[in-house]
Symmetry: C2
Subunit: 501 residues, 2 copies
């Protein structure tokens, strides 16, 4: 006879299968869906999502949660880890009145359409009433979601980065702001501005794709457990650890975008290909947080992809694959150009040194919306002011300013900090790994398997069985510490800008 | 308040959405699934299939069928058409004891694995016990399925080609056998054997794919409602009329395979892109039978793709797209080589003239299994004997003989005749269309839109709202008649082989 635990895991498996199904549908919608299939696709997604939500928040799940609350020893260790995640999800979704949640979803759906129109019109005021409704709904839902967090914004942070708070983030943001400015001053006063003209040389898309395939394979992404397609915006989805797919985009005059984009996505893919098989068909086969997920893509993109030692080994292969396009550019010149840093208006086009400043702006605005007294109407002015203050540039219009990201229109408030946390986690992991392995030698050798194995053994394998705090502590022996990020960026950019020691 | 009809159609829509979902999963499994995703994919397919079968054959559906049997006027015309199809499916699946059906499905699943092994071993005896079990299950199920059919084999035929019987098929097969032999004799004695050496010239795969895309677009396949991918075996799936996808394969030295294969699949796709939108989310958005589905792919492949008038218009474009590969081959020489006919051991490699003989063999064997006294053990000897008698060739081993098709191992007994019926339907449609339109002129012009429109208006639009018999009668004014096929083949091959008038 099946135990309660077996029945519970069977229900969890059904939810997991529906999630797998929704992931496939989503991937297909961004890679292969014909134009006229869109309305049918909406119906399909709605139907399967409804089935999935009904299982996650339905009576059967409620009964399991009640039972295991009363019988905590009825679950083994894995069962308890699953329960922790399932219960958090249930609590998040179960208490909100269904009609309110449906109304919220409708607003979010409308807002994303309006966001597109507002971008074309370069006019935030079109989006404003929708964003006001989204913020109002969030403020209405926060009391249902609150589980002891100190501030309202902490409740939102917790949904993407469990346990993260403004108490932790405020000093991190302050440290980074000051540290980045210091590095920028050093580069401006004592560094050599790199030559960058060759960075826009034409590289055929097929050659770029070949470069990406070969590079991400060497970096451990396994094409037996995934594939590489094209899409408008690069993304990664995992149906399961045997099927973690990446996509990429190519621009003839921007090989760096394709190369770093592909390496970035392959970092996500690598993570998802290497979960403990015991976690199959459970929510344990996932990263513990969005920040940790991002840590693995950024580990690839920044700490490997922008590492001087990596290019020592890779540049010969790069030149071979690109024929004579870069025949006149030596490795040092190439690497220096590759590492040029300069504030950009658009977050997704930012180099890693200035990237955190884009997040600081968004973090301060979100925090002010929920913990302060800013209104949605005031956001565009605040946005311009902060971009001028932190990045030294002011957007010419809302489209290259506050309308550049879809996140807020999609209801993702409290999400942006995870991008920055990803960089900080990655830097800390890189530091720890450097103490265990001769990383520079390995990178220069072109055989990265020891690095892949270290990441798998220390990070990927554990999936979501540990909290973010427990994982970073287990790997590095300490809590999250932005100093590793600052140290790496200082050394790396001073090297690339040939700052005298 | 919702009526019974609205509730019924809502249930039918749920089934349709799950079918759409299964179609997407199936397409993905053949085009993009990574190797290590296979076992997860099996679980997903099993789960969603189970959900779908439960709706099709469950209590709610049974209650609707009872209600509408007692209240026939509670449905409008469309509702009644849907009911007819849904009821047939329900009856087919509901009466079989569940454990027997599960056991049958297991045998079919095992048999397909064993079929692969038997092909490698070139040994039918490995498959024999599985095929015996499949046949035994079918014989056990036939009494449940029987709805007044005269013979057991008619029950199987009806599952793929509703209403089709051996009484109709026997004379058709006899007519074709005799007619084909007559054409072959004429070509051998009075025709000129075409030059075919250039048919294996290397054409890069990318060029072949470009040829296919351009050609099927001109033939009405709409890339806004579909896409073209690569797979081991070409196939078409329709999630819905806005998303009818085709796949193809390419061999450098076999451009004809890719070109005719793509044109064939696009015929299926064209059909499914043009159903009456009123049939969305119902089983009416389908062909009335497998034979009629195949009629539209074969209409494309044979009656257009092998038409002399079509190549009059196309050959210039073909030469342009293929660069100088065929610069020394004039249109007449090309067309003659394209039309060379010769018996082949493998059905799927057969030209249209000899193709029916492959079906005759399979039809006679299947009929003997169910309506006669042949045993599975005797099939290989019968196969060899009939291939020698009808095609003049004998397979060297089982792999190029009786093991060449997966259909029987997959439980598809009674399916093969639909391939032949597809050719006969297509010929009859072509004949009718030729009386309404100046088909030869249209084909030579390169603008095929009138043909596409005629097919849509007369065939595609109606979906499965008519029976096969009703559709062929409505279109052509008469019942299925193989003479149109024989007439077209006689004229076409005598032309290609330059038989003096």
């Amino acid at each position: 006879m099946a135990t309660q635990e077996q029945d519970f895991l069977a229900l969890v498996k059904q939810i997991n299968l529906l999630d797998m199904n929704l992931t496939l549908i989503d991937w297909d919608s961004h890679t292969n869906l014909p134009q006229d299939g869109a309305s049918f696709r909406g119906e399909l997604t709605g139907y399967i999502s409804g089935q999935e939500l009904a299982l996650r928040t339905g009576t059967a799940m409620g009964q399991f949660l009640d039972y295991f609350a009363a019988h905590p020893t009825a679950l083994d260790e894995k069962g308890q880890q699953v329960l922790r995640l399932v219960k958090k999800d249930y609590d998040l979704n179960h208490d909100i009145p269904a009609e309110d949640y449906a109304a919220y979803q409708q607003v979010v759906s409308d807002a994303q359409q309006v966001w597109e129109q507002a971008r074309v019109a370069q006019d935030f005021s079109l989006l404003q009433p929708y964003l006001e409704k989204i913020v109002a709904f969030k403020k209405q839902f926060i009391p249902y979601w609150k589980r002891g967090q100190a501030t309202d914004y902490d409740v939102l942070l917790d949904q993407f980065e469990p346990g993260m708070t403004v108490v932790q983030l405020d000093p991190i943001m302050a440290t980074l702001k000051a540290g980045i400015q210091k590095i920028q001053r050093t580069l401006a006063t004592r560094g050599t501005q790199p030559r960058t003209d060759f960075m826009s040389r034409a590289v055929p898309e097929a050659v770029q794709e070949r470069l990406v395939r070969a590079t991400v394979s060497r970096l451990g992404y396994d094409f037996k457990k995934g594939n590489l397609s094209r899409s408008t915006h690069p993304f990664t989805v995992a149906l399961n650890r045997g099927d973690a797919r990446i996509t990429n985009r190519y621009g003839v005059h921007d090989f760096q975008m394709a190369l770093l984009g592909g390496i970035h996505e392959a970092g996500h893919g690598l993570y998802m290909q290497n979960f403990n098989p015991d976690y199959d068909y459970t929510p344990l086969a996932d990263a513990p947080s969005m920040g940790l997920h991002e840590s693995q893509s950024l580990f690839n993109e920044i700490f490997i992809g922008r590492n001087a030692a990596f290019w020592q080994g890779e540049y010969g292969r790069f030149q071979q694959t690109t024929g004579d396009i870069f025949a006149d550019i030596d490795e040092a010149t190439f690497y220096q150009g590759f590492m040029a840093t300069k504030p950009t208006m658009i977050r997704t086009e930012a180099d890693p040194l200035t990237y955190p400043l884009h997040i600081v702006v968004r973090y301060e605005l979100e925090k002010a919306l929920f913990n302060g007294d800013t209104t949605v109407a005031e956001l565009p002015a605040l946005w311009r002011q902060k971009y001028q203050e932190y990045l030294g540039i002011t957007p010419a219009n809302d489209t290259e300013g506050i309308l550049q990201d879809i996140h807020w229109a999609g209801g993702d408030l409290g999400y942006f900090p995870t991008y920055l946390l990803g960089q900080i986690y990655a830097a800390q992991f890189y530091h720890t790994m450097s103490q265990a392995l001769p990383v520079t030698d390995i990178l220069a050798s072109g055989d990265y398997s020891q690095i892949t194995q270290w990441r798998k053994d220390n990070i990927h394998w554990f999936g979501a069985s540990l909290t973010p705090q427990a994982l970073i502590k287990q790997v590095s022996g300490e809590a999250l510490n932005p100093q590793y990020w600052l140290d790496w960026m200082t050394a790396t950019f001073e090297n690339a800008y040939q700052v005298p020691k």
